[in-house]
Amino acid sequence: MRVIIWFGALLPIVYAAIRFSAEFHPVWLRDIFVFIEGYARIVLTKTPTDPLKFLTDLSGNSGLWLLAVTLSITPLRSYLKINFLKYRRFLGLFAFFYALIHALLFIAVDQQFDLAATAHEVITKPFIAFGMGAFAILLLMALTSTRKLYPKFRGWHKLVYFAVVLIAVHFLMSHKTVTFSHVTVVGVLLMLLAMRLVKR
């Protein structure tokens, strides 16, 4: 199970590596990728045109989906009696890992480590503030997820529900128009929260 999680959680990094090495693919590998592209809606053979945007989107979406998987552990247990509780921290840390990349891309590359400028962005732009707020919560959770600290900070970890709401809004605001697929993603997140309210 752990191997599956490792594999799944690192897929976005494998994907990024494939995209950024597109120019150097040997012919046989390229042929395989072209074949896959013919059947699946995925791009494999093209270097990202807007690399910073590509990595920001990929890390953000990966963090969002891994957080969704992490949050599905409890509903799986209460509705379907499948117990994956022992993997929850592991998954959560992977979600945080991508959130960290996402935040670092913004602070280090987009804002060029200008902390004053970053602070200005957080203060003046709700879109950035929501994202940073969610990141702060995930950071707190990651730091207090050790065997020693978790019992003391257990209550604080409930903040993740608030982080999910912030992330949902941040996600919607990251696009110029709201499409059906965006609504679906937010629907999944809100559903995961709602399932906790409905049944104990």
């Binding site: 045109t49 807007d50 945007k53 590359v109 732009k125 709700p126 696009h175 128009t177």
Partner: protein
């Protein structure tokens, strides 16, 4: 004959030989029939001297595969994939409204008659990415003069083709912008020598994803002003419609001049991501065309009229 103009600060090292111009011009004329036959072998024959310094054009592949054309979808890749069969011939462009003489022009006749020139311009999207495009076209002013302006010609409105059969997203009721796409300029902006109607890029006819067969290019404004696949140009007495401005006026102004000191409500506009580059560069006021156009906005508060 193709004339090269210095707008866009093209270094002399980039100026191409006369014979290549002739060749290219001939190609522009041939392009129409090639497009009709659905073959594009001629296009590969022409190549541009790459700039050694100054403005370096973004690679053709990036300009033609990273597009905003919401008629095909809200993502950047759909336009190149879905637009291959856009019927760009025959194509009629009308110029009407407050003009002395309304015109209905066939695109081929227009291209044959009007002198084309190349303009290497910076292109800055409101989303924060940027590129450099070697357009081929002619000044909007030269066309508007043919229709003749009147004292009531104060704004110009442009409209993209409305054809839900060809533009799949135009029949969507949710998740996209209202169609037909419209944009507008003030008459002095429209008559400015930097404002062109482009019919080609990299010496070739425009591909559909880039707004074939004819599109507006206003280099000192955010890209959404540079409307694609135009069918109607209407001169008006009052400020015109502008699609993004109508959807979200607090985010997209009517003027939409590139301005690093006025942020979009969700992101800063002070820097930009050049396509193909990982690190951002500074965005220039009026996208670097301040010397030519700043006077148009002399007495305006650009924080208010963004």
């Amino acid at each position: 004959m193709l004339r090269r103009n210095n707008y866009g600060l093209i270094p002399s090292s980039e100026i191409t030989s006369e014979s290549l111009y002739q060749e290219r011009r001939a190609f522009m004329k041939l392009g129409a029939s090639a497009a009709l036959m659905g073959s594009v072998p001629l296009m590969a024959a022409l190549d541009f001297e790459k700039s050694k310094r100054g403005l370096e054009p973004t690679p053709f592949d990036q300009i033609t595969t990273y597009n905003n054309f919401y008629e095909y979808g809200t993502d950047k890749e759909s336009p190149a994939k879905l637009s291959k069969n856009l019927k760009i011939r025959p194509w009629t462009l009308t110029i009407g409204g407050e003009v002395q003489k309304s015109l209905t022009l066939d695109i081929d006749t227009l291209i044959k008659k009007i002198p084309l020139e190349e303009r290497i311009y910076r292109f800055r999207c409101v989303e924060g990415w940027a590129m450099v495009v070697p357009w081929v076209g002619f000044t909007l002013a030269s066309l508007l003069k043919q229709a003749g302006l009147t004292s009531k010609s104060k704004y110009v409105e442009f409209e993209t083709l409305f054809d839900p059969v060809q533009f799949p997203q135009q029949s969507k009721s949710f998740g996209n912008i209202p169609f037909p796409y419209r944009e507008g300029l003030r008459i002095d902006e429209a008559m400015h020598p930097l404002t062109i109607l482009a019919v080609g890029l990299y010496g070739k006819e425009l591909l559909p994803q880039n707004g074939a067969p004819i599109r507006l290019v206003v280099p000192w404004k955010y890209g959404f002003k540079s409307i694609k696949s135009i069918v109607n140009i209407t001169l008006k007495e009052h400020q015109t419609r502008s699609t993004w401005n109508q959807i979200a006026p607090q985010e997209y102004g009517f003027y939409a001049n590139v301005n690093p000191s006025v942020d979009h409500p969700r992101w800063s506009q002070s820097r930009e991501r050049v396509l193909g580059k990982f690190f951002k560069q500074e965005t220039l006021a009026f996208n670097g065309y301040g010397n030519e156009v700043a006077h148009l906005y002399k007495n305006m508060d650009l924080k208010k009229y963004y």
